[in-house]
């Protein structure tokens, strides 16, 4: 975010509790000190709905998205806001504006009013934060036309995709993961440049393989790679695909892989019904890869319940590495 704030002065960050609290999860630490109040707007911890004020000014209008809470007052003068949600659970209080004001506006105005905004923050299960703070919103947001939904896994993803999201002229929902914030990754020379971007809408094959395609996003990509390492010892070679973007989904990459491996397992943290895995299944069935499947697609998902608090229950509510291994073997019928 620092690099993008430097690069384009229309970029503008609105974060809850950023100034003296350094942002609840420290992601925006230091930015307020560097850029000041004009570029970094700190919002009190409110999380209320978004109020939208439509103002037409000068050259075609501005849209003021004013959410008291992670709030986004924006682009009257063509600003490009980045709106941080303390977690995406709180975005539910503001979701009307994300969908009805951000996602649909360019369409409703027939091209008159673009909405270059990024909504970012941690998504999904954390550790011991219970039902109201553990929901995954990938499926909810990816359901809506007009939004782009991105879900990075490692540091390179986070950097490259966020830069692309900020440079993107359309609303992007950027789903981070709290448990990944503290995980270090090696970064290539190339990825350390200020202009390193990763295109939105392209998946990445993290690990090539020939027996089964395993598709995941966010934190669970790591779990899939761990599962693949275990299975490799038994002679099962998994091709692990990191979706990186949920919408638009890179179905072609999945299809190409499935046409090679003939087996598909999807892995996600969210609930099963109408989820990311469900969408992948539908899309595979509708395309050429269907005829290459030797077995039905298996979805590994979170358990279909609100997230419990007690550790033993929480551990059993999300996919574990052993669940992924089990599912892959069942799919391969071994």
């Amino acid at each position: 975010m620092d690099e993008e704030l430097e690069r384009d002065e229309r970029v503008f960050l609105m974060v809850e509790e950023v100034a003296q609290y350094d942002g609840a999860l420290q992601v925006s630490r230091g930015l307020w000190k560097k850029y000041g109040d004009k570029r970094i707007s700190t919002l009190p911890f409110l999380r209320v709905r978004i109020l939208i004020m439509w103002r037409s000014g000068g050259s075609g209008g501005g849209l003021l998205l004013f959410k008291t809470g992670p709030s986004l007052p924006l682009f009257q003068a063509g600003l490009r806001p980045i709106c941080e949600f303390m977690t995406f659970n709180f975005s539910m209080q503001a979701i009307d504006q994300v969908i009805n004001s951000a996602a649909k506006t360019y369409y409703m105005s027939a091209g008159l009013q673009p909405v270059p905004i990024v909504f970012r923050g941690p998504n999904g299960a954390s550790a011991g934060v219970a039902a109201q703070h553990s929901q995954c919103f990938a499926a909810w947001y990816a359901h809506c036309p007009g939004l782009k939904v991105v879900s990075p896994w490692n540091s390179e993803d986070a950097k490259g995709l966020l830069k692309s999201a900020i440079r993107e002229d359309n609303p992007v929902v950027f789903l981070e993961n709290e448990l990944m914030y503290g995980v270090p990754f090696e970064m290539s020379e190339e990825s350390q440049s200020k202009d390193f971007t990763i295109p939105i809408g392209k998946a990445k094959v993290e690990r090539p393989g020939s027996h089964v395609t395993v598709v995941s996003h966010s934190r669970l990509v790591g779990h899939c790679l761990d599962a693949a390492a275990v299975l490799a010892k038994e002679g099962i070679e998994c091709e692990v695909i990191n979706l990186r973007t949920i919408r638009p989904m890179d179905v072609e990459s999945i299809e190409a892989s499935v046409m090679k491996t003939n087996h598909l397992v999807t892995v996600e943290g969210g609930w099963p019904q109408f989820g990311v895995g469900a969408e992948i299944c539908a899309r595979i069935m509708e395309g050429p890869a269907f005829n290459y499947l030797d077995a039905p697609v298996t979805r590994v998902t979170g358990v279909d319940i609100p997230m419990p608090y007690a550790k033993i229950l929480e551990d059993h509510s999300v996919p574990q590495i052993k669940d992924i291994i089990f599912s892959i073997k069942k799919t391969l019928n071994v």
Partner: protein, 373 residues
């Protein structure tokens, strides 16, 4: 209540005394709560014991959190005890109460035991929510949590009040929120509906001066939270004085029960801990400020001084209560750390009420779990 054995006889102490409390600022009210209030020795001892129990319970939770026995979120209430105790003193258990996530104190005053509360914090089967809710999701009869999303409980509180009115049982709902939530739109929507429909709800803004790390001056265009209800009468109350809170609540409850509709109380209070256990609480306020409140306005000290200087209790007697409270907390902590976690069979239960058992999908299609109501 346990009887305290003391060296002096019961007859030595003053049975009751009159105390002066700060006058409440009022908004759209012709009268105000009394400034001269009577407290009996029994009441004093009970308030003392309850506040001390809450204080010790929160401090124990702090300890357990640092030992990683409590995980996730933990928002502690120490410093604000007078609010919970004062409110409960003027309502009945048959009335209703709902608050946000700084809820351990209210869970206790509403009828939860220290044991159940602590076991919930540690995620055990003996917890008040069987370990499934955690710190922010504790419930008991006529206490609707424990709510994690800022401000969301306020419309719910009005709904409970609507049910009270509808059912005609002369009950009311105390609906709490903080200074941070006070600027939210849903609060104002609730004010509007409550006033329109004359709902028996006491809105309580616990103003502890900081919404997470944002001071009220930086958060609110108007910090007169008791006036923010505009057309709803309001009181600004000294939230560090249990008697002031009690008196104001008495006044407010009468207002509601007489059918006049909602009323708003702003309790000016303070929290010693940071927003939650992940907040040291000193990046946005000074240690001196915290120390000053502790030494000049601590609710428990204030009550203790009052009782001692009016000969309503002896130092030894209060110390005995402290010892008993400490023991109760230790026992509860012992239970909370040794009680087993909930059984896996519980995982999927309580999705629906009054529903035939259903199958729940586990993490993969071969995992078929059971859910009963």
């Amino acid at each position: 209540m346990q009887t305290v054995i003391s060296a002096r006889t019961y007859a030595d102490f003053t049975a009751q005394a009159t105390f002066e409390v700060k006058k409440c600022d009022t908004h759209k009210l012709d009268e105000a709560p009394a400034t001269e209030v009577v407290m009996t020795r029994e009441e004093g001892l009970q308030y003392y014991r309850t506040m001390q129990t809450m204080r010790r319970m929160e401090l124990k939770a702090d300890q357990l959190y640092k030992q990683k026995i409590i995980r996730g979120f933990c928002h502690l209430y120490d410093g604000q005890e007078a609010c919970a105790v004062g409110i409960e003193a003027s309502i009945n258990l048959s009335d209703h109460l709902i608050t946000a996530y700084r809820a351990h104190g209210y869970t206790y005053t509403r009828g939860g035991t220290v044991k159940e509360i602590m076991a919930e914090l540690t995620g055990r089967r003996g917890g008040i929510a069987k370990g499934k809710g955690g710190s922010m999701h504790m419930y008991c009869k006529n206490f609707y949590g424990g709510n994690g999303i800022v401000g969301a409980q306020v419309p719910l509180g009005a709904g409970v009040a609507l049910a009270c009115k509808h059912q005609g049982r002369n009950e009311l709902c105390v609906c709490l929120y903080g200074d941070g939530a006070a600027n939210q739109g849903q609060i104002f929507e609730t004010y509007n509906m409550a006033a329109l429909w004359k709902l028996p709800v006491i809105f309580v803004c616990e103003n502890n001066r900081y919404g997470m790390g944002t001071s009220v001056e930086r958060a609110a265009a108007s910090t007169d939270y008791y006036k923010r209800g505009e057309f709803i009468p309001g009181l600004r109350v000294d939230g560090m004085d249990v008697l002031c809170v009690r008196e104001a609540t008495r006044f407010a409850a009468e207002h509601c029960r007489s059918g006049k509709g909602p009323i708003l109380m702003e309790l000016q209070t303070y929290r010693y801990h940071g927003h939650s256990m992940s907040d040291p609480g000193v990046s946005y306020r000074t240690r001196e400020e915290i120390q000053e409140v502790r030494s000049k306005s601590d609710p428990i000290s204030m009550l203790k001084d009052r009782m001692l200087s009016n000969n309503m209790a002896s130092v030894e007697e209060l110390k005995e209560i402290d010892v008993e409270v400490r023991k109760e907390i230790e026992d509860a902590a012992q239970f909370a750390t040794t009680d087993p976690e909930p059984p896996l069979e519980e995982l999927c239960n309580h999705i629906f009420y009054n529903n035939p058992p259903l199958d729940v999908r586990g993490t993969h299609p071969w995992s078929k779990l059971k859910s009963v109501s």
